[in-house]
């Protein structure tokens, strides 16, 4: 799987909030067409790491680069224009816009900059693919939870990102929905997309990720194939505590 060239390089990324070090010296690479998981116990700094990549937060030190271009000092909208799209831990759709406008919003300003009929058709295609075609002109208030999640994913895909960041995209789904969700990401993987996902659902990590980075207290404690890192004694200790 990891035959592609390196797309994203995280090098010694550190984030401090006052005295608290949320992310400390994180270093890892993400290759093209690779699905990379970031896992770890609650409060280990995974979401902060995602926020550093997407430009929501600035690194205190270290760097994050995509294909040689520094992302770490850019504001979020510039990072987005370079081709990083994301979903949010707590689903965030735009309540005052219709379903299709939500998707167009994802593509109009970011990496692909589609507008007009082009944007409309592309958004329709995406909604079709994600199974939301029937809801296209509805207000978003009418959507179920998984449909909101799908919509958020469609919005992220609308910009044709180089790297897709999924922050606990599978969280909160019931078992049937979870299977639909896993299948959906698995399809994206087969298309050859580069994805970084933060996830707690272990089944999803085993079946979706090519590689994983395990974080604990802001530091990387393991990296490798999911099956390997999940049997690593240090990782088990991090999850279950010292006994």
């Amino acid at each position: 799987m990891s035959t592609g060239r390196t797309l994203l390089q995280v090098n010694g990324a550190t984030k401090r909030f006052g005295g608290l070090v949320a992310v400390s010296g994180m270093t890892f690479d993400v290759k093209e067409h690779e699905v990379m998981g970031i896992i770890g116990p609650n409060g280990s700094g995974k979401t902060t790491m995602m926020n550093l990549i997407s430009g929501e937060l600035r690194v205190t030190s270290g760097s994050i680069a995509m294909q040689g271009r520094q992302l770490s000092q850019l504001p979020a909208h510039k990072v987005s224009r370079l081709g990083v799209a994301r979903t949010f831990q707590l689903v965030r759709i735009l309540p005052g816009l219709s379903v299709i406008e939500n998707v167009i919003a994802g593509g109009a300003f970011g990496h692909s900059r589609r507008w007009g009929d082009d944007a409309l058709h592309f958004a329709q295609t995406l909604l079709d693919r994600l199974g939301l075609a029937d809801h296209m002109y509805q207000p978003v208030g009418a959507l179920t939870y998984i449909d909101q999640k799908r919509l958020e994913l469609a919005r992220a895909l609308a910009s044709e990102p180089q790297v897709l960041l999924l922050d606990e995209w599978l969280a909160g789904l019931n078992p049937t929905e979870l299977q639909i969700g896993i299948d959906l990401i698995s399809d994206l993987r087969k298309e050859g997309r580069t994805i970084i996902l933060v996830e707690h659902v272990m089944d999803a990590i085993r079946s979706l990720c090519d590689r994983c980075v395990v974080m604990n207290s802001g530091k990387k404690i393991a990296e490798g194939k999911p099956s390997e890192v999940l049997s690593d004694p240090e990782v088990i200790r991090a999850y279950l505590g010292d006994e």
Binding site: F17, G18, L57, P95
Partner: protein
């Protein structure tokens, strides 16, 4: 030296008003733009009692406080709580409460104009007083003293009593406060009412040395807001320091350059704070 002393005396009273607004905005999360009118009402009460019955403003204060408390409590419960409940997010509550309190402010001005459309002029303790080589009016000194006492009482109550602690808890995090069994709505109403009472009393004190009129409230709302933002929302010590700074700067500008520029100088400070320390002098940078 004159500037220093007058500035500090003015700042002390400003601190009290800012404390009132801080309770309302920092705890109840309502940006009350009718705050200045509450202050003017306190001043109007003092004027009226003094002119009609020669009652000292210091006694009027004791009547203003409970009345303002009840009045603000009613406003919160009947007009603002429905907005808090219907708001889907903080942004919507902000817009709604700004518009609603603007409405209240205009209504209060309208009512006060009907009661008295001229200046609330009266003379209370307007005798010169010598302090550290400077001459100040006694009424300023008395107002300052009263403001310090009330501020101190409030500070002790917040830090050393059970309801005070609940108020501080809601100010830090309404969600967490709910989890430990604090009735957030009731504490918010309490803080809003208390804030209104403090502001009303502040108005009574200010009216002894600044001549108020029915429409001047908005200027005091502005000043209180600038102080609260400068000090950091929810920061009592920050508000006191900010109030003293504002009092000093205004007095200095009025004495040295032109009394017409006091508002402009307050704005300049506000602009600098917004540009360089939007979280306030004492506030922590939020993430």
């Amino acid at each position: 030296m004159d500037i220093l002393i007058s500035g500090l005396l003015l700042g002390g009273t400003y601190a009290l008003i800012a404390m009132g607004l801080n309770l309302q905005y920092g705890v109840a999360r309502i940006m009350n733009l009718a705050n200045g009118e509450m202050l003017v009402l306190g001043g109007l009460a003092a004027f009226w009692m003094f002119v009609a019955a020669e009652i000292s403003p210091l006694l009027t204060m004791l009547i203003v406080a409970p009345l303002a408390f009840v009045g603000n409590w009613l406003i919160y419960v009947f007009l603002l709580k429905p907005l808090v409940r219907r708001a889907k997010n903080q942004g919507q509550l902000e817009v709604d409460s700004i518009l609603a309190t603007f409405g209240m402010s205009f209504i209060l001005v309208g009512i006060m104009v009907m009661i008295r459309s001229e200046y609330f002029t009266y003379s209370f303790l307007a005798n010169p007083f010598e302090i550290l080589g400077s001459t100040v009016a006694e009424n300023r000194l008395v107002a300052f003293g009263a403001a310090v006492l009330i501020g101190l009482a409030l500070y002790l109550w917040l830090n050393h009593s059970r309801p005070g602690m609940a108020v501080r808890a809601v100010s830090v995090s309404p969600d967490a406060a709910k989890l430990v069994g604090i009735n957030v709505e009731r504490i918010s109403a309490l803080a809003f009412a208390l804030g209104g009472a403090v502001t009303g009393v502040g108005g009574t004190l200010i009216s002894t040395f600044i001549t108020l009129d029915a429409s001047v409230g908005v200027i005091f709302t502005m000043k209180a807001l600038i102080i609260v933002i400068m000090g950091g929302v929810g920061e009592i010590r920050g508000a006191i320091l900010a109030a003293l700074i504002l009092g000093l700067v205004e007095t200095a500008v009025a004495t040295l350059i032109d009394p017409g520029l006091t508002l402009a100088s307050a704005y300049l400070i506000f602009l600098l704070i917004l540009l360089f320390r939007p979280q306030g002098l004492f506030g922590r940078r939020s993430t």
